[in-house]
């Protein structure tokens, strides 16, 4: 059995990513509206609790990377359920792994514009240090990897496009808004904090909050969040690669 990370498995990934990015960019309004929840929450914070705005802005970036998984879920399901185009793609020299990765990277490229607007806002409002900047890039990529992989795996379970919105919005809002992503981790019940720190979006947000104001997390909490984020991202990515090949074989 070939290893999921072997290079030949990613044949065609670059060109399919570019194709998918172009497809996504045709939906300009969807790209534009991808920031609605983030800006709504930022408005809430700006009106009601301006002191936590830097935390909320960093959380908005992490949330944006996390909800890219929802776009991957929608796109992969739309291509498969509504158009059955996946059959065409997978009958070509494109590998199943490249098909999944192409959708994930294409969505990332297309939605990077609005995310960069949030980054620009962060530069204006947040006191960046080199550590915070490096952590922002690293945790964002880890959250994207986890979320896109999860989105792709989940997309293969749906048979009806109308059912997707409900389940996806519950899932992504539950993990993205309820735990301390947009608000300080100190406001989350102490007893439940370990649970928040093993969930990728809140683990990333917790690490960023600690880089912003050192001491927000204990050193053991920092290790827990960092290890959980790294392990979950890589494991979910591996599962998605294996799942992509398996579901392609079962067609």
């Amino acid at each position: 059995m070939a290893l999921p990370f072997a290079l030949p498995n990613f044949r065609g990934a670059a060109s399919f990513s570019a194709t998918e990015a172009r497809v996504q960019l045709h939906e300009g309004i969807a790209v534009f509206t991808s920031m609605i929840t983030q800006f709504v929450v930022l408005i809430f914070v700006w009106v009601l609790a301006r002191s936590i705005l830097p935390v909320a802005i960093l959380g908005a970036i992490i949330f944006s990377m996390f909800t890219l998984g929802q776009r991957v879920l929608n796109e992969a399901a739309y291509v498969r359920v509504d158009h059955k185009l996946n059959e065409l793609y997978l009958a070509s020299p494109l590998t199943p792994e490249s098909y999944f990765l192409g959708i994930a990277v294409g969505v990332l490229l297309a939605y990077l514009g609005p995310i960069l607007i949030l980054v620009a806002i962060a530069v204006l409002w947040v006191a960046f240090t080199p550590l915070l900047a490096v952590e922002l890039v690293a945790t964002s990529l880890a959250v994207w990897l986890f979320s896109s992989s999860m989105g792709y795996v989940l997309s293969t379970l749906f048979r009806d496009m109308r059912a997707i919105w409900s389940y996806a919005s519950i899932l992504y809002n539950l993990f993205g808004v309820l735990p301390p992503v947009f608000y300080p981790v100190g406001l989350f019940p102490t007893a439940l904090r370990p649970i928040a720190l093993v969930m990728p979006p809140s683990a990333a947000a917790g690490l960023l909050q600690d880089a912003l104001r050192p001491g927000v997390l204990s050193s053991s909490d920092v290790v827990l969040a960092a290890v959980a984020l790294a392990v979950e991202s890589l494991v979910m990515f591996g599962v998605a690669l294996l799942w992509a090949r398996r579901t392609a074989q079962e067609r």
């Binding site: 939906e27 309004i29 969807a30 534009f32 509206t33 609605i36 709504v40 929450v41 408005i43 809430f44 914070v45 009106v47 009601l48 609790a49 936590i52 739309y78 109308r162 059912a163 919105w165 409900s166 389940y167 919005s169 519950i170 809002n173 539950l174 808004v177 309820l178 947009f182 608000y183 406001l187």
Partner: protein, 255 residues
């Protein structure tokens, strides 16, 4: 276009509302997550708001009720556009004796069924969150405000749906329109919390008056009987105007 004439045996009155209500019920009974989502999403945001501003919680629950009701417009947009674009069902409705206003209210009732559980749960939360006995007139004012918002935004939703050409436009257009309209009005915070310019802009939106009226009725914002009467009149006037404009923009035949 020639006027269609029906033989006398074709019923002019029908059971449109129960039929559409049944459609709404079938949708949530087949797909329970569609009921859970509208219940859960306002609660997720309420939890967040409670954490960052615990003193405003009852007001925020009223805001969630108004926002949920307003969002019915987005679902109306989705259903109406899907039935027209994907199922080509609107031609069938147009060919029937049912007019566009009855169709609008039918879809609005259908989607109210899906939102009703969320509204009931939020009403129960509100009764506990207010912390003091509330006269029935306050509930009646809130109910009236919700009804006006429901009709207005359902009309906006159905009007916008008739202008869409692709199913992929539905979610982003609905999400953008109804969320932005909801955020411009002070649903989740008192009007006085907003910057002066935003306060003045908010006065052009009917939901602002619905929020002020409901907040005043529950004693969550200072309001006299006179000011509440003016707010109620402005709400009705703006809602009637908005509904009339929406219906005039709504393409019923040949959409």
């Amino acid at each position: 276009m020639a006027t269609v004439s029906y033989p006398a045996s074709v019923p002019r009155e029908g059971h449109v509302f129960p039929a559409f209500a049944l459609i709404g019920w079938r949708w949530i009974s087949r797909n329970p997550a569609s009921t859970v989502a509208p219940i859960l999403l306002p609660f997720i945001f309420l939890y967040f708001l409670f954490l960052i501003s615990p003193g405003l919680f009852p007001l925020e629950v009223i805001g969630a009720m108004l926002f949920t009701t307003q969002n019915i417009g987005s679902w109306v947009l989705g259903d109406s556009a899907t039935w027209r674009i994907e199922c080509a069902l609107q031609d069938l409705f147009v060919a029937s004796p049912m007019g566009k206003v009855r169709y609008l209210f039918g879809i609005a009732v259908s989607n109210l069924i899906a939102a009703a559980p969320a509204l009931v749960v939020l009403a129960v939360v509100l009764s506990f969150a207010v912390g003091h006995p509330v006269p029935w007139t306050s509930w009646a004012i809130l109910f009236g405000a919700l009804v006006v918002v429901w009709v207005l935004f359902s009309a906006i939703g159905v009007a916008m749906s008739s202008r869409l050409t692709s199913q992929r436009e539905i979610w982003p257009v609905g999400n953008l329109t109804f969320t932005v309209l909801g955020m411009l009005s002070p649903l989740y915070y008192p009007l006085s919390y907003l910057p002066p310019l935003w306060q003045q802009a908010a006065l052009f939106f009917p939901t602002t008056y619905a929020a002020i009226l409901a907040q005043g009725a529950f004693g969550l914002a200072p309001a006299s009987t006179g000011s509440m009467t003016i707010d109620a009149v402005l709400l009705l006037v703006l809602a009637v105007l908005g509904t009339a404009v929406a219906l005039s923009l709504y393409r019923w035949r040949g959409a």
